[in-house]
């Protein structure tokens, strides 16, 4: 019994090392002075040289700004559409077109990106021929594509939150005189807000990170950050990318740390509430 517990535990630790070692190596070498990314220049390191180089790279900064704007719009669009789809799938039982909607919301999650990208571009080309819109590809088509594949993830998150949701809460609100639209805004929305928020973050990250689909639907002058990184690392390793990776890791880690502290705080408050409830029996 003991030995198996030991085996899986060792596997877990090794697995975590496997997951984090590459990230850690990027962080370490971002402070390396040498151009030869992986050879540690012990004399002149650590240095913030590459961060300085990064800050003056207008191509990367411009691409990052474009990526942020696309991700903001895409995540918001995906959250709206995904919440609607999640509501319909979780709540409306067997409606006409349910199978169609359910299929179309899970398929993009596993669909190889090259296929999604290719098909979206061919759609935009065909649309332009047919109705003269969109005029070429660029930020608009990237955003439309991102909304489409991100909403699938939001749908899953919202749908699973709603399936664990006590439907009598909505019935109670209706019973007390609230119309369906009001029920949604006063009861349903506030209660699924955490799921919607994590759906939004997920969509933002996916949009911010996407390369393959974006490459298909992007045009000249609309290079996103992943596209710029890809073209740089494809033809050789550059140390400023290490610096960029470190900044991104830092941002994510800060966000996670804040949310962990906040969750800890909420849990503590919750425990206190439970004690309060137990003390005030009956």
């Amino acid at each position: 019994m003991k030995s198996r517990g030991l085996f899986t535990r060792v596997a877990l630790v090794l697995g975590l090392i496997f997951l984090y070692a590459p990230i850690l190596s990027m962080v370490i070498f971002s402070f390396n002075n040498s151009r030869l990314v992986t050879v540690w220049d012990a004399v002149n390191s650590p240095t913030l040289k590459w961060y300085g180089v990064l800050m003056h790279n207008s191509q990367i900064l411009g691409a990052a700004w474009l990526s942020i704007r696309i991700a903001l719009v895409s995540a918001t669009g995906a959250v709206i559409l995904g919440t609607l789809a999640g509501m319909a799938l979780a709540r409306y039982g067997a409606f006409r077109g349910r199978m169609l909607l359910a299929g179309m919301t899970t398929a993009p999650i596993v669909m190889p990106e090259v296929i999604t990208g290719l098909s979206l571009l061919l759609l935009f080309v065909a649309l332009e021929q047919l109705i003269g819109w969109p005029h070429g590809v660029g930020a608009v088509t990237i955003t439309l594509a991102h909304i489409t594949f991100c909403m699938a993830y939001v749908t899953v998150v919202v749908q699973s939150r709603l399936t664990g949701f006590d439907e009598s809460l909505e019935e109670a609100a209706m019973d007390l005189g609230a119309r369906p639209v009001k029920v949604f805004f006063r009861i349903t929305l506030p209660l699924i807000l955490p799921a919607i928020a994590s759906g939004w973050l997920l969509a933002f990250t996916l949009s911010w990170d996407d390369l393959v689909i974006t490459q298909f639907v992007a045009g000249p002058g609309s290079s996103t950050l992943p596209m710029v990184i890809f073209s740089k690392v494809r033809f050789g390793v550059t140390p400023d990318i290490n610096a960029l990776a470190t900044i991104m890791v830092l941002v994510v880690a800060t966000g996670i740390a804040i949310s962990t502290i906040w969750m800890r705080y909420r849990e503590k408050r919750r425990e206190r509430d439970l004690r309060l409830a137990a003390a005030s029996n009956p």
């Binding site: 006590d166 009598s168 809460l169 019935e171 109670a172 609100a173 209706m174 019973d175 007390l176 005189g177 609230a178 119309r179 009001k182 006063r186 009861i187 506030p190 209660l191 919750r270 509430d273 439970l274 309060l276 409830a277 137990a278 005030s280 029996n281 009956p282």
Partner: protein, 371 residues
């Protein structure tokens, strides 16, 4: 105390059927609810009682039939426009709102002014003894407190009908008994008509002015608690409410003051002092409640030895504290259930297992059932 107006139906359910696909969850139910009463719908799971309640609330629409409340046809009225409120089994308190906001929610929808709403909320919270808890969130309350808030939230709108779905099911046994009486007293003070759905017969008996027993989508009997217990109208009700010893038999001799029935399983005759419309020779069932049977070592004297008397052997005795249950195997092999109150402490020579005994009952005890 509000007068129960027995002449006029306050809510009238007429020929209501609800089908889910081919399955009729509620099957042609007609029911009149009187103003000011507590009407209990009693039935097992899948009996259709909850579906009927949800149709009254407006969450389900009847496949056919009509529902009138205080004279108004409710068939097409959505739940948010009905003069009806519901207390949910899960209580359905909005977890993101304080107790006060929960209770005020219904008033806000009516457009009641802030001050008036505040006053009404305070009043109703006082009434359910939750006066000091207005600022708390639902998860900061115990089960019993949540139940009161749910009640207050439904009552504050002064509905014509208050629907309660298993109102006490989530409470523990001690609290349940206490809350039953509190519910009755609140109902009497407010004068609101209650319709309670429950699967718990004890709860139904205690709460209900009248009971409607449901089985497979139909109402099988309506009556006062004692009517239903003492005079069940069919085998389902007799068996469902309390426990009962049931024997099949043939009518030997009908009559105006008593019926005599030949029961093969008893190897004897049951004489029931009831008037039942039945022909001689017809197959009927006779039901005898366990507490209405006497148990003794000697053959009880005075009685006709061929009537309302049977010999058996005690197989099991379960001591329940306030009473004891005896399982007696009678000579035909059938088991009978007899309960005796433990009125005296330390009886001298209690009846023990494997002892042979006589079971007897008075002619007023058996109920004769034709269906």
């Amino acid at each position: 105390m509000p007068a129960i107006d027995s002449a006029q139906a306050y809510a009238r359910i007429a020929g209501v059927t609800k089908k889910f696909g081919d399955f009729a969850a509620v099957d042609n139910v007609s029911l009149d609810i009187r103003r000011g009463e507590i009407f209990c719908l009693l039935g097992g799971s899948g009996s259709g009682k909850t579906t009927l309640l949800r149709m009254l609330a407006g969450f389900e629409t009847p496949t056919s039939g009509t529902i009138h409340i205080d004279g108004a046809d409710m068939s097409t009225t959505p739940p948010y426009e009905r003069p009806v409120n519901m207390m949910f089994q899960s209580y359905a308190l909005f977890p993101h709102m304080s107790v006060e906001r929960n209770v005020a929610f219904g008033l806000e929808q009516e457009g009641v002014s802030r001050e008036r709403a505040k006053r009404q909320v305070a009043e109703i919270l006082d009434m359910v003894k939750m006066g000091g808890f207005g600022a708390r969130k639902p998860h900061q309350l115990s089960g019993g407190q949540r139940q009161r808030v749910a009640l207050a939230r439904a009552l504050v709108k002064k509905p014509k009908l208050l629907l309660l779905d298993e109102p006490l099911a989530a409470l523990d046994k001690k609290l349940r008994e206490h809350t039953q009486f509190e519910l009755i007293s609140i109902q009497q003070r407010m004068g609101v008509t209650f319709i309670v759905v429950t699967h718990d017969q004890e709860e139904a008996m205690t709460l209900g002015t009248r009971l409607g027993v449901m089985n497979q989508g139909r109402i099988v009997q309506v009556g006062s608690p004692s009517d239903i217990y003492e005079s069940p109208s069919n085998r389902f009700v007799a068996d469902f409410i309390g426990s009962v010893n049931m024997f099949e038999g043939q009518v030997l001799q009908g009559g105006t003051d008593a019926v005599r029935i030949d029961c093969a399983e008893l190897r004897g005759t049951v004489r029931a002092e009831r008037t039942v419309a039945c022909a001689n020779g017809a197959t009927v069932w006779t039901a005898i409640r366990p507490e209405k049977i006497g148990i003794s070592r000697q053959q009880p004297g005075g009685a006709d030895p061929a009537e309302n008397l049977v010999r058996g052997t005690v197989r099991e005795i379960a001591y329940m504290g306030d009473m004891s249950i005896y399982l007696v195997q009678i000579d035909s092999g059938k088991m009978m259930r007899v309960t005796l109150p433990n009125t005296m402490r330390g009886r001298e020579r209690p009846i023990v297992r494997e002892e042979s005994v006589w079971l007897s009952w008075h002619g007023s005890s058996p109920v004769v059932l034709t269906e």
